[in-house]
């Protein structure tokens, strides 16, 4: 029973990772490719971590001593990966926009905000 659930979680993680990498190739714009990359960073790693957590629960119910080792390490790894993944994606998008990479959209509402912010920064100096 535990084996089946672990296998299903690994397969879900595999499917989401494959869809994310396919989206990295098929989407036309940089800002839509970020959406596809976030698929790998959220569901791919969360379901793989869930697989290890369920495996650790199976070890706990079968009475083996290694469940705390697996569970604590995978919890730390999940927290670290969720925090760093979101932060690095935001940093890449911000740097791409500020270096002049414009999105393929009809209306760019962020452009006016950036220009007013730059004007405010110059006034502060």
């Amino acid at each position: 029973m535990i084996d089946i659930i672990v296998t299903v979680c690994v397969l879900i993680s595999l499917i989401f990772s494959i869809l994310g990498v396919i989206g990295l190739f098929r989407f036309p714009d940089f800002y839509t490719r970020i959406h596809a990359a976030g698929l790998v960073g959220s569901f791919g790693i969360l379901f793989m971590g869930a697989a290890v957590l369920i495996y650790a629960a199976g070890l706990f119910f079968s009475g083996e001593g290694a469940w705390l080792n697996f569970g604590a390490h995978i919890l730390i790894a999940l927290v670290v990966t969720v925090i760093t993944g979101t932060t690095s994606t935001h940093a890449i998008a911000r740097s791409a926009y500020r270096s002049g990479n414009r999105p393929d959209a009809k209306s760019d509402a962020l452009k006016d905000d950036i220009e007013s912010m730059k004007r405010r920064e110059e006034k502060k100096r």
Binding site: D3, V6, T7, V10, L11, S13, L14, S17, I18, G20, V21, L24, F25, F30, R33, I34, A37, V40, G41, G44, I45, M48, G49, A51, V52, Y55, A66, N69, F70, H73, I74, I76, A77, V80, T81, T84, G85, T87, S88, T89, A91, I92, R94, S95, A96, R98, S99, N101
Partner: protein, 86 residues
């Protein structure tokens, strides 16, 4: 059940090569950095898969350290793309 973990690890490695193709022909530098970020996440996923395959929790430690170090590298390259490093 070990065969499924082996097949999953092999498919993740093939996905890393696919992201390498995106790094090779990406139009802008931000696309290359995004593909490198996806490669970092896939390496972390492969390490967790190996810890399930070999039943060794020491691989998850490698995943934690790799995630933190790749985070620092990603932030540095993001500042380099933005042009703050002069």
């Amino acid at each position: 059940m070990n065969d499924i973990f082996m097949i999953a690890a092999i498919i993740f490695v093939l996905l890393i090569f696919a992201c390498g193709v995106r790094i090779w022909r990406g139009p802008t530098n931000a696309d290359r950095m995004l593909a490198l970020d996806v490669i970092n996440i896939l390496v972390v996923i492969i390490m967790i898969t190996l810890s399930l395959w070999f039943k060794q929790p020491i691989f998850v430690d490698v995943a934690i350290v790799y995630a933190l170090l790749s985070f620092v590298g990603t932030l540095y390259v993001a500042k380099l793309i933005m042009g703050d490093l002069e």
